[in-house]
Symmetry: C2
Subunit: 610 residues, 2 copies
């Protein structure tokens, strides 16, 4: 069935329901960034498979909003469909409400006044829906229907909600028991004047319970909700996922188990005065359930405390065991990366006749990682983009796009692994042979940005929005930029993207605190030419304390040489040269005891001072 | 009458009104930063005269919250009173609601349940009061009374609202007629789905009408409101302020005039569907008037569009005439500064016996500025802080604190003028003789920060929060910091602080756009030792346009040498040395044609390359 047929089916439903438009966001009831196939409705209706994007369909038109990471990919995937690409954050791009205001006005049925738009309230956060309602009202009073899933009737082969097994995450890696975490959570709830909370974020639930799953590709989480009140903790989950061992564990931890579908009932029966619902995490449907509770007379009204879930910060500040796990995972990842780079560089310099492609090198790297202890899989789909493919920020090679590598230019390689003791995320841009002057210059600008973040010292509690510019200022002076964030948190054998703290141009109020992990990954992408990105994962550690307060610094956890061939040394400041040489010395000292003789020889050269 | 007597009078009123506490903010009904004496109620009740601070009085305790600029001054001024100093942004300082929650709980009358707190709703913005209501509710349900001014009954010699004359601001300086500004404002209101707006910010009104006044010390504004609907513009002002010439001008521009006190009536009679009220600008009392309008049956209900006033951005983006005016004002200011610096440096190096103090040098500088054409006064009270006084960020020398200068150490001098063609704001830290190594090092760190802002290139629309770190990163590496913002907008013969754009650590969503002015004023303050601040006023101008969009840069409008004596050259990057030398060359080239021979000789030396 092609996209146009799906649109036509959808419009039949819209006609019947008197809907002027339908909005398809990219998330699930848990506000996940990556979702199980069951919730890939936006991909199903539009054909666009990026991790972020919103499809909107009216009776006569269709459009898809996505961000710069996916402009090139989306353009490709939307070809031949009705969908028009809307580039977020580009001047002139209308917002969804603005566009709907115009489209609905133009196509309005002369006799009827359809100005209702539908969105599945389960798959959007409270804040998103509230914002949408307010913005649509300004467009000639368009209203939003949130209790209707238009896909239900037309997506006939929709995949089921996954039912993979849940496993216990050993305390040796988690570093803090579920019981102790619950004590901290309850204390934080009291401070926020809440008696309980509904946890919907899958990684928050996995962290709290010290459980892991495999319901979502690359993300070791399991689909569920966790409802906490002053006495009880209830996990809403499909029980087939729980072995008797896990059931016993949950019982010991005092966690009751109910069926996933019963969460609304649980909220209706929640008998306390206050409940914390994080409006960026909880979906609108469940929020409405709590909000409307007072209307029935069976239960007392519950006040909603709309604040950020305290679990977010607890989870992102790693404890000692978790930090030790990260170091162990990074060591293994570094070993795999060095073996890989040595092999790839040998191929490029030997002028070997062996044929290599983006996919084949990704497979090789995965195989090398799989040899490492506690390997559990990759932490996201590898981005291996050769030359112009490197300019597609979230490129994922497919058999159709895969190209053979040549001994020239850049291969951008962004990859990571899930080990039981930690999650990794690393990007290297690798010279496969001769480079242009432009390539070297751009590479060096990205490297300068990367190093300036590494060098930064800052007061505890500063935001990533303040620090982000250090990665960009050198390239801004040349009129260059990248439109994605500079860095994100990384989970402990959990999601590779862990928030809310980030480095980015947009405001992120989340303060940076000692113990957090965060990536440092500036880039430059020249469409049709090449892309450069250099990424390490950093740990935030104490720096010094003075009369002006506590200051923090970054420590690179990632252990892997940064390709020196493309560097234009004259463009680097002395402090940048010093950082690079010290980092390389550290990489060499840490990895070499774990490598064979040939590898040590190669690494010594790769880590030699410039 | 002393502070304790005032508190006792106040508590009598509180007793009568059953109030648990009263809150005294520092602003007026127009959310002014600097206010006419009539509204200095917080100063009257507490004795603290800084521009920012909130006093809170319960039946048994009193406290004053202020920011780091005023810690030292407030400590001094609160001595001998009941007031406890609360240092904002310092760990452990409770918020006002948190403190009230505790205090009221402790002192609660055993028989009665007083838990109402009063604030004059006219002297706080909508957002402030809403936030306060929400936060107080969390503290055991404390409620807020907003329709009561406790000072009315006890402040017997309260100064009247000023009645100074209003003057027309010539088009030659304003660069855009009132008529044209109104066309732009109405267009912006339509885009925001509003039929009209209430303007309360005094500088916005002065800018819109091309009028100036002198109701507030150093700020050429006049106390008034401006109500715009789709047909009419009404200025609410005490009519004695308007000459027949100004009355005629207003009539020509189609502006009706009503008495200042009648603004509530005007809002009640506002007959349109939508009105824009900027919740950070309009006071809570007037907001309530509009909100409650529907309750009487005489007038239809009006919807409030709560958005930032579009006038703010219009006013901060200077037109060509305004920019030309700034250049002219800066030239005059530079001439006065050079004459002053030459005189001061001669005194310090001649080992002259002439006695000089912080106040006497401030007077000298003001006299030199007054010689310049179109001088209208100073733009804020001069900060002349010698040695340890320089560490008091907003120090203002008084006869009691004034100290004689010695030929050693630093004089921090922050000053500015109002000229009819523009407003200036400049800080120089001047070596009066031998310096310590610490002084030189700190000075050079501040200079590095200043220059890094000057060098920055950035995408149009970036926020000052993103850029701020460039001024701090060098000092953060040494564990040093300053807790004030790095820069603020400057008005056109208007307020020296003009927002909302700023450089600061806190989030300021206001984008930076070509045509804006902004100061660049990092500092370091070592309590009891000395303070350093170096400030130029910058203009934002286009830099280049590339595939990544429009990039902007800064141009220093301020024309005055930066003292080179304290510089530790080895601490500067080559680009920083280059900037300083180029800036000095530009200062010399621009100012020297306007100076006498001796002055040129002095300036050539002061501007010689390092």
């Amino acid at each position: 069935m092609n996209i146009n047929q799906r649109l036509s089916d959808l419009r039949e439903v819209m006609q019947r329901e008197h809907l002027a438009a339908c909005i398809f966001p990219s998330t699930d009831p848990h506000q996940s960034e990556y979702v199980a196939d069951h919730w890939k409705g936006r991909e199903w209706i539009s054909g666009f498979n990026g991790s972020a994007g919103t499809a909107v369909v009216t009776m006569t038109s269709a459009a898809l909003w996505t961000d710069s990471r996916y402009f090139l990919a989306a353009e490709e995937q939307l070809k031949g469909t009705e969908f028009q690409l809307m580039k977020l954050k580009i001047e002139g791009t209308p917002t969804i409400p603005e566009w709907l205001g115009k489209e609905i006005m133009q196509s309005r049925h002369p006799k009827e006044d359809w100005s209702e738009v539908a969105i599945d309230g389960r798959c959007s956060s409270v804040n998103e829906v509230k914002g949408l309602i307010a913005d649509l009202r300004k467009e000639n009073g368009i209203t939003l229907r949130t209790n209707f899933d238009p896909l239900k009737q037309i997506w006939r082969d929709r995949p089921a909600i996954p039912e993979h097994r849940v496993e216990i995450y050993p305390l040796a890696y988690a570093g803090e028991s579920c019981h102790d975490k619950m004590v901290r959570i309850r204390k934080a709830l009291r401070e926020r004047h809440a008696d309980g909370m509904l946890m919907a974020a899958l990684d928050d639930i996995a962290w709290t319970l010290n459980l892991r799953g495999s319901d979502v590709h690359c993300n070791p989480v399991f689909v569920s909700y966790l409802l906490i009140d002053s006495k009880n903790v209830t996990l809403y989950i499909n029980k087939v996922k729980l072995s008797s061992e896990v059931m016993d564990y949950l019982k010991t931890e005092g966690v009751r188990v109910e069926d996933y579908e019963l969460v609304e009932n649980g909220l209706k029966k929640y008998f306390e005065y206050n409940i914390l619902l994080d409006p960026n995490e909880v979906n609108y449907r469940l929020y409405e359930v709590v909000k409307n509770k007072g209307r029935q007379n069976d239960f007392p009204k519950t006040e909603i405390v709309e604040e950020e879930s305290p679990v977010k910060r607890m989870k992102t500040v790693k404890n000692e065991r978790e930090i030790a796990g990260f170091r162990s995972a990074m060591l293994k990842d570094g070993i795999a990366m060095v073996k890989f780079l040595k092999w790839l560089k040998a191929w490029s310099s030997d002028n070997s006749s062996e044929s290599m492609t983006e996919i084949s090198v990704s497979d090789k790297l995965e195989a090398l990682r799989a040899e490492q202890p506690l390997f559990r899989g990759i932490s996201f789909d590898t981005i291996a983009g050769y030359q112009e493919h490197g300019a597609i920020v979230h490129y994922e090679a497919t058999p159709e796009t895969d190209v053979p590598l040549k001994p020239a230019g850049f291969l951008l390689l962004d990859s990571g692994a899930q080990y039981l003791d930690g999650t990794t995320d690393i990007t290297r841009t690798i010279a496969l042979g001769p480079l242009t002057e432009e390539q070297k210059r751009v590479y060096t600008l990205v490297l300068k940005g990367h190093i300036q973040i590494e060098l930064c010292k800052f007061p505890s509690g500063a935001s990533g929005t303040q620090i982000d510019i250090l990665a960009r200022e050198a390239m801004w002076r040349e009129g260059l930029n990248y439109l994605h964030g500079t860095g994100h948190g990384v989970g402990t054998y959990l999601n590779v993207h862990e928030g809310p703290h980030q480095f980015r141009m947009e405001w992120k109020p989340a303060p940076l605190i000692a113990g957090m992990t965060i990536t440092d990954e500036p880039g430059i992408y020249l469409a049709g030419k090449f892309g450069v990105r250099i990424e390490n994962t950093l740990l935030i550690t104490p720096y010094k304390e003075t009369e002006f307060g506590k200051f923090l610094q970054f420590e690179s956890l990632t252990l892997c040489p940064i390709d020196k061939e493309p560097i234009v040394k004259e463009m680097l400041l002395q402090e940048e040269i010093d950082w690079l040489n010290q980092y390389h010395q550290h990489v060499f000292d840490t990895l070499s005891p774990h490598l064979n003789e040939d590898e040590v020889v190669w690494l010594r050269e790769a880590c030699a001072a410039i």
